[in-house]
């Protein structure tokens, strides 16, 4: 990479006063400041708090699932009372609803919005030195489209049949024929509407992010001086905007199948519950293809931003430049590119054409390469660094290690022969929880602590943070590691009572242990919530740059005012110039002008 100073042209004359003069001293009403705000920081915080609350809802649903698996058919606390049930006992349809809605809430209302919505909104303009998003009103709409989605999912709960129960994948015919199962009626329709609204929200967000990152970077912020978080957000937005429309279209087709009599996914001659035979000639497999065309890239949408944020935090807490900046960028791009051509590995047992199975197996195994590059680079970043073992770092290390476990188990199921054996068993459940919870959520926990000072001007409580981390980490591994063993023993997913099969009876004690760990993990999230809201009010105040980090966001006030920066930041170097011998401090802000004339600053990734 060139070490030449960025082409900063001095034209003199007109300044940026009119660009930013309007920013400060702007005091809107309560409604325009806290509710219908167009300020990216407020929208980011709205997303963050909404998703944290949804995290608790999704977690409660998961605990319901775990309760049933450990103490089958015993009165379920809370859920047993909340929903019409006999003596607190839940019916099997209720269990499938729990599974479905846990996944839907966690994926569509927690993971995707917390990464893209909360961190993306808050960080993108700050990290690239912009005063706001490119389209602030669109940004506001993207948050407010989350609420119809939440209401639709909520309406699904309250519909007949307890709620959508077709799995978050909602495969036809279970989802296409209202008579197919108790949860396939209006509950499924509401669920699909909710999905559509989430889609609109994500779509507006991703177009906004792409435009902002492409066209609103601060002077000197070349593409290869962008923090990896921004690269990750950018690549995520690309994934989202090109994959999501396909799911939206497929969702419309499924809604039409249910409500308008079309038959895209309904074959002819199906008789369910004494209804007339269906007419049509559609193909359920078509839905699976269209669904996974979005939802596999969505797996990376749920991972890449966390990867980017962890890269930033690891470099900062190791006080070392990120190891291999450009390979990190290229591997993210490769993950995104390959991510588009691997969706078929979800369908190995669906009766898909075997020729496709082979193709998808090869592409899936290939995606391990860029993922491994990233893992090696994280380890390389930490290697020989002066590690600071605070909450941020602990969560980041958990991210890397859990991602290794989840990534390795992914390679198993990439192979068709292995997948046929472990498909739809708890091995899969273990795998994606290691990636989505173990990696992404630990990354988010780290990110919350790391950027909390920028959001609220205060530091989060370190002791509570560490307590939360250790309890969550122990609870997480206690819950999900045994799932590998369950899966290999052949315990299927989504069974309300797997112990009806004699070969699974001996797994009950292990499931009870897992449920205890899950309860521990679930309740330790209250520590996070408490820490969040307590520190917001009473945490120690901090300056602009409490972590001695390099990024542009740390040059803005904490919290930044409307318009973010007092003046347009000018970027002179990459974001990872930690412990540079040419500089007196162990960090080197991106905005610091070069030390001496003629002595260009060393850049990241010169190797």
């Amino acid at each position: 990479m060139s070490t030449v100073d960025p082409a900063i042209v001095t034209t003199g004359g007109h300044g940026h006063a009119d660009d930013h003069g309007h920013g400060h001293g702007h005091h809107g009403s309560f409604i325009s400041t806290y509710v219908f705000s167009t300020d990216h920081k407020m929208i980011g915080k709205q997303f963050l708090i909404t998703t944290l609350l949804m995290l608790m809802v999704g977690g409660a649903l998961a605990l319901g699932v775990r309760w049933q698996l450990a103490f089958r058919w015993e009165a379920m606390p809370i859920f047993g009372q909340l929903f019409p049930a006999q003596g607190g006992q839940i019916p099997p349809e209720f269990y499938t609803m729990l599974v479905t809605m846990h996944a839907s809430v966690m994926i569509f209302l927690v993971i995707i919005p917390i990464l893209a919505g909360a961190f993306g909104n808050f960080l993108i303009p700050l990290m690239i030195g912009a005063d706001d998003m490119a389209f602030p009103i669109l940004n506001m709409l993207s948050y407010w489209f989350m609420w119809p989605a939440i209401f639709c999912f909520g309406a699904s709960f309250l519909s007949a049949g307890y709620g959508a129960a077709g799995g978050w994948t909602s495969y036809p015919l279970l989802s296409a024929l209202p008579e197919a199962a108790p949860g396939s009626g209006t509950a499924q329709t509401w669920w699909l509407f909710g999905l559509t609204f989430v889609g609109f929200s994500s779509m507006m967000g991703s177009i906004n992010y792409m435009t902002t990152i492409i066209n609103m970077r601060a002077p000197g912020m070349t593409l290869f001086r962008m923090p990896l978080t921004i690269w990750a957000m950018f690549i995520t937005a690309i994934l989202q905007s090109f994959a999501l429309p396909v799911l939206t279209a497929a969702g419309f087709m499924l809604v039409a199948d249910r409500m308008l009599g079309t038959c895209f996914f309904i074959p002819s001659g199906i008789v369910v519950n004494d209804t007339d035979p269906t007419v049509g000639g559609g193909q359920p497999l078509l839905w699976q293809h269209l669904f996974w065309f979005y939802s596999h890239p969505a797996v990376y949408i749920m991972l890449l931003p966390a990867m980017g944020m962890v890269s930033d935090m690891l470099a900062c807490m190791s006080r070392k430049p990120i190891f291999g900046y450009k390979p990190m960028v290229y591997s993210m791009a490769a993950i995104a590119g390959l991510g588009f051509i691997v969706w078929g590995h979800h369908m190995f047992t669906s009766g898909m054409n075997p020729a496709l199975g082979m193709t998808f197996m090869v592409s899936t195994v290939m995606i391990a390469l860029p993922s491994a590059v990233k893992v090696f680079n994280w380890i390389g970043t930490m290697w020989g660094g002066r590690l600071v073992f605070n909450t941020v770092m602990l969560n980041c290390i958990a991210f890397v290690s859990m991602f290794i476990v989840g990534g390795l188990s992914g390679i198993f199921m990439a192979a068709v022969p292995v997948d046929i054996y472990i498909h739809d068993t708890y091995f899969i459940v273990a795998h994606f929880h290691y990636v989505l919870f173990g990696a992404t959520l630990f990354g988010c926990f780290a990110g919350i602590v790391f950027w909390f000072p920028k959001m609220y001007g205060r530091l989060m409580n370190e002791k509570l943070g560490k307590l939360h981390f250790f309890l969550t980490f122990i609870g997480f591994n206690g819950t999900f590691f045994p799932m590998h063993l369950l899966g290999v023993s052949g315990m299927p997913r989504r069974y309300a009572d797997p112990y009806l099969h004699p070969y699974l009876e001996h797994l009950l004690p292990m499931n009870q242990f897992m449920t205890c760990c899950a309860i521990l993990m679930g309740f330790s999230q209250f520590i996070l919530l408490f820490n969040f809201f307590y520190s917001r009010q009473f945490g120690p105040k901090c300056g602009r740059n409490p972590w001695n980090a390099n990024g542009l966001e740390w040059t803005a006030p904490s919290p930044p005012g409307h318009g973010n920066f007092e003046s347009v930041p000018i970027c002179h170097r990459g974001p990872y110039e930690y412990s540079d011998p040419k500089h007196s401090e162990d960090f080197w802000l991106q905005t610091d002008p070069p030390a001496k004339r003629g002595e260009g600053p060393a850049t990241v990734a010169a190797h």
């Binding site: 002819s268 001659g269 007339d276 588009f340 078929g344 054409n353 496709l356």
Partner: protein, 135 residues
């Protein structure tokens, strides 16, 4: 509202726009009409042996029309290389999706009817009595 005062910039950018060479839009319009005429004429042309050639021609005409609209009406001829960055991945994905759907849906190796009949079985609907139609 934190709109950058974009209006003056936009107008300035616009002035730059008009600098690009004048396009005879009417000629493009005529070309598009001719293309539409060709597609309709191709439809009237019935030949079993040349069927795939005609299909190819019809699609080509549609692509040509699309290129006319993109190049001139949507000014892509005068835009920078970013157009490729936006449109190329999209086009590849769009075609790729259809290609990936083909082995399963367009060339499926079993019939989608229920009960499933092997491909070698006659494609005509099964005899009425087999349809379990008895309500």
């Amino acid at each position: 509202m934190s709109h950058e005062p974009a209006a003056p910039n936009a107008v300035a950018a616009h002035a730059g726009h008009d600098a690009h060479p004048h396009v005879n839009y009417f000629a493009i319009f005529i070309a598009l009409c001719v293309c539409t005429g060709i597609s309709i004429l191709l439809d009237l042309f019935e030949s079993q042996s040349l069927r795939w050639v005609i299909v190819f021609l019809v699609i080509s005409v549609a692509v040509a029309k699309a290129m006319f609209v993109l190049t001139y009406f949507m000014h892509l001829k005068f835009e920078g290389n970013w157009k490729f960055i936006i449109l190329l991945p999209t086009t590849i994905l769009a075609i790729g999706l259809m290609v990936a759907l083909t082995p399963d849906i367009a060339l499926h190796y079993y019939t989608p009817d229920v009960p499933q009949v092997h491909q070698d079985a006659p494609a005509v609907p099964a005899p009425a009595a087999d349809h379990g139609h008895g309500h």
